[in-house]
């Protein structure tokens, strides 16, 4: 039988984690953990890894506004994010939340679980990269923060130490009026893994871009920011932004061919989606 524990305090959870003879698999909403189990079971590869269920840890709950940042607890679901009253710079993240899976997955899956699962197609990553988010990690020795770009190391690899639990995402505040957008491309309406997704957060003063942050997912093992494009955008009038993205700005990407699309298509659509995301709302896609 699989060992399964559901501690009720972070301290207890960290102790269980530190003392476990075999590193347990951490469990939040289970929307990645259970499907992975089913995939194994179908080919007679049952998982006997112990589970440490984090869902009863009060320290991981809720969204909190603090002086210079918001803290999104590790148990906050996509649905909670989608429905939360959050400042405008969260719009891209909330648009992503509304497009993850279907309603059932949104009701159960967590944002932090999405980050920890570290899929190249994780919809939560680009928006948070564009917000310079950090991941809060708790261990028996204390709590540390890791920038998201340093947290996700590769396909299904993170910088979490085996005895740590990700407790929250820290999102620094942006300037009021910042515009954030998310564009997801998939081959059907719901329940679809992204072929490409783009998140942008643009902050402007007097109609000129003061800071642009742009990230692209599903086009490299880890979603990437596009620093050259961000630099090129800085100082431009907001209306000029959509015309700026060029193929050379995509240098950090390394898309592949897979069942969903070709590498060439991903490069092409990344540019299209970038231009759309950067275009002023009035020019948004004609129906």
């Amino acid at each position: 039988m699989t060992a399964y524990r559901r501690p009720t305090s972070l301290q207890e959870a960290l102790a269980l984690l530190a003392e476990a003879p075999r590193p347990p698999l951490l469990l939040a909403g289970g929307t990645d953990v259970y499907p992975a189990r089913a995939a194994g079971e179908a080919w007679m590869q049952p998982s006997d890894r112990p589970l440490l269920d984090l869902s009863a840890l009060p320290e991981l709950a809720g969204i909190e506004e603090r002086a210079d940042h918001h803290r999104i607890g590790a148990l906050v679901t996509w649905a909670a994010l989608r429905d939360a009253a959050l400042p405008c710079w969260f719009d891209a993240l909330r648009q992503a939340a509304a497009q993850v899976g279907g309603a059932q997955v949104q009701n159960r899956g967590t944002l932090v679980g999405n980050l920890c699962n570290a899929s190249p197609a994780a919809d939560g990553v680009p928006a948070l990269l564009a917000l310079d988010a950090e991941v809060e990690l708790a261990g028996r020795r204390g709590t540390r923060r890791l920038a998201l770009r340093d947290f996700i190391l590769g396909n299904r690899q993170t910088g979490r130490a085996p005895d740590e639990i990700a407790t929250a995402v820290i999102v620094p505040k942006a300037t009021p009026g910042a515009r954030a957008r998310f564009e997801k491309l998939g081959a059907r309406a719901y329940l679809v893994i992204s072929i490409v997704m783009v998140a942008v957060v643009v902050e402007a003063t007097d109609g000129r871009i003061a800071r642009a942050r742009v990230a692209i997912g599903a086009c490299s093992p880890v979603a990437q920011r596009l620093p050259a494009l961000e630099a090129a955008l800085t100082g431009l009038p907001v209306e000029a932004a959509a015309a700026i993205p060029q193929p050379e700005h995509l240098a950090p990407l390394s898309p592949i061919d897979d069942v969903r699309a070709t590498a060439g298509y991903r490069r092409h659509t990344a540019l299209v989606l970038l231009r759309r995301a950067l275009s002023a709302p009035a020019e948004a896609r004609a129906a």
Binding site: G30, G102, A187, R188, L191, V259, A286, A287
Partner: protein, 896 residues
């Protein structure tokens, strides 16, 4: 660590469950609490069949650990009727025909219930967002949306639905006769029931597409897992280790001997209790492998032989030759040519294969989901080496089939296990195992050419189709036989040369899938008409109308179509919509933007029943001590035959449909109605049902000494003839049998392959994002000549469902062995992918059919993909040649 009891509230009742905390809530509900209304289609969050409410919020129960439900309230379909809105929603589902097979219905109901609790009058967009996580493979979602939006209107009306009066059933929108069990969760699907104490069976399958293998010593495995009762291999098969559709082709082994021929081929099976099976790992099994190079469609024809019996790997060649097509083409004023390639398509019924078998003395009983109980009976008897009379097949409710449950899957191995162990044995395939092991739609490589004269009249047509039939024969010969007959479509073509070959490869066996290869052919054929129409300068609809078959025409097989050729009527009905949609598209294009709008059209014909082969059906209606009973052996896989055949029998007899008791499917209790495929049950079994009803009526009238106009009435226990009770000393029965008249095809495909044909034309309106290659469907209008719509709601349901599958075929479905073996990566349309559909029912009566009816199951799917490609061409000028038209392929085609 022993598990403690977890307390939770289920449908308002406190329950204590003793199971490990990580146990899936689905398993808790179904196995521990017996609430099998919650269905399991994937165990992975992908299908939503397991949707329940957790504290009022919809969740996939397969992803919820029991411990996380502790102290919370769970609502399942079994608890739905307790609330006013839940009961109203169930009534709305029945009224609108929102449940077909019913396997997705509990999940749909629960997802909708979350929404309706907060918002009793939602918009369509809100309903879509709520239902986006539940897949339905049958309905095309439109009637589900209708029901959800209308549910509030059913709040007041608590009465059961109104049933048609005597003689008025045919043509009425009577609710499904088997519908109540589907909306309450009471229906018993393959995984929902098993005899107490059943053992579990697990098939062991090849992960390699082609490999030789040998078993070593099983003793260590048996020692390590003391619960493991038996390992079954080829050596244990008491009878013939082979099954297959054709009596002379039993080429697919129950358990492979030395060689596995596709990824998913079955090597052996393990039998034990569930926990033991779940713990056994593949790498513990004593199997050694010699992996061989797989043979694909590229290398198969004339390459290394995969079966000694077919040295060139050509399983079957079908052809139709009439006139001199080459000469006609070279003399044509306009000629068009096309080459297309399609993919494997998975049936993706939401219910994976499941069932049980048990031995009773010298007989065996098999309960499983199936489309063909009598074929299962023959296979089981053959594999066990026992007389057919010793086998009883009890079909479970069937959670979708679409052709995929015509072949046996688990039935033979369950029967072998139960027979040898003399204990009941059950099995439920996990989703991925279902996908790797079951048959697929044939991928096809098609080249076709057609010509016409200066006025647009067709002159000649040449068609060459290479169909990848995979590792075993299955329905390959049927596909190769049906395709050349249909390849030119429902048009007058004086000279035809069409050939289809089914080629054996190391791929999954391709079998029967709604349309038997015809949908692939229609894609090529309809693309040619668009090109010829453009060359001639004719409107694309008018080009088709000009060439459409009409009553009195002779087909390429030499058959004269005497009656019921409704294609022109379909096109006439579509014409105003076509023109209006084209005008709308032109106006939208004139406004500019990244999306280009287009409208496409396609036609189809479809022969009802087997190709040039006998396919009889027998139906029986009895009147006796157990009442008025309709013995109907046709399995309803969601398409509605239980209801339609009842409507027919009732009207033929002259009693209300509501008065019958139904005995369905069971081979001990019903006669052979033939398989549920080839769109034949309404036509063939319908005629048998009409004859049975009529025969019983005749017997009653004779007994009562009454004239033919006598009025019958049934009060549930007594039959009244013109108001006078009929005294019965012995039960009366009426038996009806029908076998559609056909003439087998000769070497050139000449003959009468089908007694009647369905005809249809569909128009698709869409837009294409010219930068992304994404396709947005706006509207589909479908005109179908069904002879007579016995039940318009069910006919529309078939059309909607067929269209949804056509959309999947056209735009997203591509089964790649080893890569898209689950419902996460293999995409089928969701509620947001099916646009508004308008159905136009054309009723050109078929004199042979019951009350003039033909069939609709497959015709619904055939024209959809070609109409979509026609519309993409209209919008962008691009011809899609690699199917499905995933966004990158559309963009590629636009760029060419």
């Amino acid at each position: 660590m022993t598990a403690q009891a977890t307390l939770l509230s289920v449908n308002g009742t406190a329950r204590a469950v003793t199971a490990p905390g990580e146990t899936r809530l689905t398993s808790v509900l179904r196995d521990a609490l017996g609430l099998t209304g919650t269905k399991v289609g994937c165990d992975a969050g992908d299908c939503g069949a397991c949707t329940v409410l957790l504290d009022g919020v919809q969740v996939c129960a397969c992803l919820v650990p029991l411990a996380q439900a502790e102290g919370r309230s769970v609502t399942t379909v079994e608890g739905l009727a307790a609330t006013a809105m839940g009961a109203a929603l169930q009534r709305a589902f029945l009224h609108h025909g929102a449940a077909q097979c019913g396997i997705c219905t509990p999940g749909m109901l629960m997802a909708a219930t979350e929404l309706l609790a907060a918002n009793p009058r939602p918009t369509e967009a809100e309903a879509m967002a709520s239902l986006g996580g539940v897949l339905c493979r049958c309905t095309g979602y439109r009637k589900i949306l209708e029901a959800v939006l209308a549910a509030h209107g059913f709040l007041e009306d608590g009465r059961p639905p109104i049933m048609p009066a005597a003689g008025c059933a045919v043509g009425s929108r009577m609710p499904r006769a088997d519908g109540l069990a589907k909306v309450t969760g009471a229906d018993r699907f393959g995984a929902d029931a098993a005899p107490a104490g059943s053992l579990w069976l697990r098939a062991v399958r090849s992960p390699y597409p082609r490999a030789r293998f040998a078993f070593g010593d099983w003793a260590p495995l048996l020692a390590r897992h003391p619960g493991l009762i038996r390992v079954l291999t080829a050596a244990d098969i008491p009878g013939r280790n082979g099954f297959g559709i054709y009596p002379d082709i039993k080429d697919q082994p129950v358990f492979c001997e030395r060689e596995a021929r596709y990824r998913g081929d079955c090597l052996c099976a393990l039998v034990s209790d569930r926990a033991t099976l779940d713990a056994i790992r593949f790498d513990e099994l004593p199997i050694t492998w010699e992996v061989l190079e797989p043979v694909t469609l590229d290398g198969a024809p004339g390459g290394e032989a995969l079966h000694a019996r077919w040295p060139d790997n050509v399983l079957t060649t079908g052809r139709v030759v009439s006139g001199d097509a080459e000469a006609a083409l070279s003399a044509s004023v306009h000629v068009a040519a096309i080459g297309i390639e399609t993919s494997f398509v998975e049936h993706a019924y939401i219910e994976p294969e499941a069932g049980w078998a048990r031995r009773i003395g010298q007989r065996v009983e098999v309960f499983a989901c199936t489309q063909a109980p009598y074929m299962d009976l023959e296979e089981v008897a053959g594999v066990l080496g026992i007389p057919q009379a010793a086998v009883r097949i009890i079909p479970s409710a069937c959670g979708g089939g679409f052709g995929g449950k015509l072949d046996v899957s688990i039935q033979p191995m369950l029967a072998v296990a139960a027979w040898l162990l003399d204990r009941p044995v059950r099995a439920v395939l996990p989703r991925s195992e279902s996908m790797v092991s079951s048959t697929k739609r044939h991928p096809a490589r098609i080249t076709a050419r057609a010509g016409c004269d200066a006025t647009g009249r067709l002159t000649g047509f040449a068609f060459e189709g290479l169909y990848d039939t995979g590792a075993y024969a299955s329905w390959g010969p049927t596909v190769a036989g049906r395709v050349p007959v249909h390849a030119m479509g429902p048009y007058r073509v004086p000279a035809v040369a069409s050939r289809a070959r089914a080629i054996l490869t190391s791929n999954p066996p391709s079998g029967a899938f709604r349309g038997f290869g015809v949908p692939q052919a229609a894609i090529a054929q309809e693309a040619l008409w668009d090109r010829l129409a453009d060359s001639v300068g004719l409107d694309r609809l008018e080009f088709r109308a000009l060439n459409a078959l009409r009553a009195g025409d002779t087909t390429a097989t030499g058959q004269v179509l005497e009656h019921s050729v409704g294609l022109v009527a379909c096109l006439d009905a579509l014409r105003p919509r076509w023109q209006a949609l084209r005008a709308e598209a032109a106006a939208a294009n004139a406004r500019g933007g990244v999306r280009r709008h287009g409208v496409g059209i396609a036609c189809m014909w479809y022969g009802i029943g087997n190709t040039g082969m006998s396919n009889p059906s027998t139906m029986r209606v009895t009147l006796g001590p157990d009442g008025l009973v309709f013995h109907n052996g046709a399995v309803d896989i969601g398409q509605g035959s239980t209801t339609v055949l009842l409507q027919i029998a009732a009207d033929a007899l002259g009693l209300p449909a509501g008065g019958f008791r139904l005995v369905l499917g069971d081979t001990d209790l019903t006669a052979d109605a033939g398989k549920t495929s080839a769109s034949r049950q309404t036509f063939v079994s319908g005629r048998a049902a009409a004859a049975a009803g009529k025969a019983l009526r005749d017997a009653v009238l004779l007994r009562a000494n009454a004239g033919p106009e006598a009025k019958l009435a049934w009060d549930g226990s007594e039959l009244l003839v013109d108001g006078r009770p009929l005294a019965l000393e012995a039960p009366l029965e009426g038996i009806g049998r029908f076998d559609p008249p056909t003439v087998p095809l000769d070497a050139n495909g000449q003959g009468i392959p089908y007694a009647t044909y369905g005809f249809a034309a569909q128009v698709a309106a869409l837009s294409v994002d010219m930068e992304l290659g994404t396709v947005h469907l706006r509207r589909i209008v479908a005109a179908h000549d069904v002879g007579r719509a016995i039940n318009p709601t069910l006919v529309e349901g078939q059309i909607h469902g067929g269209i949804a599958q056509g959309i999947g075929l056209a735009l997203m479905e591509e089964y790649l062995p080893g890569r898209t073996e689950n419902l996460h990566d293999y995409l089928i349309p969701t509620v947001g992918d099916v646009p508004e559909i308008e159905c136009i029912l054309v009723e050109e009566r078929e004199p042979l059919g019951p009350f003039g009816a033909k069939g609709i199951g497959e015709p619904a799917l055939v024209p959809t993909a070609p109409a979509i490609f026609s519309a993409i061409r209209d919008a962008t000028g691009a011809t899609i040649m690699r199917i499905p038209a995933l966004p990158h392929r559309v963009l590629d085609a636009i760029g060419r």
